[in-house]
Symmetry: C2
Subunit: 442 residues, 2 copies
Amino acid sequence: MKAALYSSIISANIKTTQQINTMSKPNAFYAQSGGVTAVINASACGVIQAARENKNKIGKLYAGKNGIIGALQEELIDTGKESAKTIAALKYTPAGAFGSCRYKLKSLDENRREYERLIEVFKAHNIGYFFYNGGGDSADTCLKVSQLSENMGYPIQAIHIPKTVDNDLPFTDNCPGFGSVAKYVAVSTREASLDVASMCETSTKVFILEVMGRHAGWIAAASGLAADREGEPPHIILFPEIPFNQQKFLNKVRSTVKKNGYCVIVASEGAQYKDGTLLSASSGADAFGHKQLGGVAPFLATLVKEELGYKYHYALADYLQRAARHIASTTDVEQAYAVGRAAVEYALQGKNSVMVSIQRKNTKRYGWQLGEAPLHKVANVEKKMPRSFITRDGYNITGQARQYLAPLIQGEDYPPYKNGVPEVAVLKGQMAPKKLKTRFRL
Amino acid sequence: MKAALYSSIISANIKTTQQINTMSKPNAFYAQSGGVTAVINASACGVIQAARENKNKIGKLYAGKNGIIGALQEELIDTGKESAKTIAALKYTPAGAFGSCRYKLKSLDENRREYERLIEVFKAHNIGYFFYNGGGDSADTCLKVSQLSENMGYPIQAIHIPKTVDNDLPFTDNCPGFGSVAKYVAVSTREASLDVASMCETSTKVFILEVMGRHAGWIAAASGLAADREGEPPHIILFPEIPFNQQKFLNKVRSTVKKNGYCVIVASEGAQYKDGTLLSASSGADAFGHKQLGGVAPFLATLVKEELGYKYHYALADYLQRAARHIASTTDVEQAYAVGRAAVEYALQGKNSVMVSIQRKNTKRYGWQLGEAPLHKVANVEKKMPRSFITRDGYNITGQARQYLAPLIQGEDYPPYKNGVPEVAVLKGQMAPKKLKTRFRL
């Protein structure tokens, strides 16, 4: 009854597929979603360049300002106003040039208002293609948009472009964004380990690097690539997948310091106890007496100091790791660009409700090709580290993990520099004129 | 009376200048001291290569294992055993390849035992040249060693090779090691700022990067180079030189967020109140209820959250910044190498008790040449940021600072990579056979 009511309201407001398609060639909408990466703009570059090469089939390409919010609020950046040079510069510009957001569409039943608004905006701007660049949550949003045709009679093709430093999307060998953060973490771990090694006689004995990864230990795992040989740092990697055992950890730290003179630890922010309690939740009170979250490294550092007496240092890479375009992996940049291009090609082939995927070729030398995965299978699924990628003691990566990870950090795709700092794309960001009178409140 | 007694003991044990010089050409001793940098090994490379080019005048070149401790404990790495290729690789290897230490010689009166031991070791290994690679404290050690001739009759020439990320040595335009950390901080600030800018609509509004600099704000200042134009991030830089005013700071954060949607703060670890209390001392208790030091960033973050309600993120670059050879500045690498070479040349010219200095040429285009400064003037003096380098409001750098800093981060001296991570020199580290029966306890 309720659904039928809505349905009639909508059908009164929108034209049918046929009507729209005969109006003119459809425009396209692209948006960046969720935590940004060093290479998400390379995907944007791929989308925009591919769309420009298909001007006979795609009209304008709008980018949502701040992701899907831009669609809801009719804030559409007209990418056609940007020069070819600026678009090319996106390939080496980190973070989300069009703005990103953390905003997940609710289900149709929970918040139909959002879907109606999307259709209103899409219709007003003749949007027939929807490209959404994000991780697991965003895949869910993309899935919901892809179902607008079916559920609400609005004709649209939605293609998901994978992106997440967390590398936790299923049905793809890896996720664009991960390779570069992995390279940053491997490089930084190697460099910082040399620092600690050279000072340990009279100074710091334990160094902890805290990296991203709330639920999956992929980023922490990449630090293992810093070691050429067994026994080289990092000596201990803490994965969310392996329950933290305090006594075992302390024993390992002590024996490592006794053997090498120092111990390098890389900890996932999501490192946790068996019961799921995060280690970071155990950190002390802040300056205002509040329980302070977000500190696996300080927690481990004080634990080590308290129980073993070693001098420590720790680093929190935080946004530095996922923004580190200056040391992006060539593999990653190429894949990020390719999945962006492919999204446009898939759409033009008539596909809908799929994610572009990366498939590893079954060859001795690393090779990859693009594929696709149905969005309803991708959305809201997290791919964790397989147990076979983690050593038996739970503190390092296996040869199998190394084989998987190593190709993803190959090559240094350096950006151009000006005055000693990386050049970045500076967008005009010109908005398409608004066509709707109504405003949308989030 | 006491001095005369020591003097006779020593003279009985050591030969005079003439005796040693006729024995054979003197050997040389090199050591790394204090906190390591991305380019201190480039200085080592310069010393070793210059010594090898002067084999007719310099015998063996020993490197102290872990700095001056290697001399005291007669742990001398025979650099002659390393291949030319390995020595060349030092130029792109971060941290201290021979080991460094935090160990300051006491005064002659306070701990004569140390000086007697040094002379004993130097004599046993026919050391006539002493090259010490470090910062302010190390300059003091080098000064004391340089006075061994005068005070204790042992002939030695001591040359100090400047090194410190803190850039706080006087009588030199800048310090090798600083340019690379400055570049790392400028690059990271630019990258992370783009990240924050793209997410601020629905996520983090305030980002804080904590950088090194206990007493001088040079490193924090370098973050200012991330901005091409006024108003670009970083929006607030906290220098140890400018007393922290909480209300003024909060007002600035609020107005910046209101204007730009976000605020990027770079804070020196040495940021402090007017009375000299460190902000980091205000952090809360750790997991064990102890007062926790070393957290300007978490302190500021909780302050901002508490008083203004903004979502925050913060990063602690810690060792990552000073080890970041992967993004070293070309100017810095060249200067680090040059001061190493010059130390050998100065010694062969008969100089003693000087530090190699870098002098900026008075030309429109940046140029530099080497000079020297007397060690007794250098030791224990800290060069702070001039007030004219800091904007009137105390929160950013001036054009004058920019003019000084910019040339130091020019050029990207990339290391070679293997398997996706930087290659580094792997030393044999073969020790010279010990000649003394006695051991020295620190």
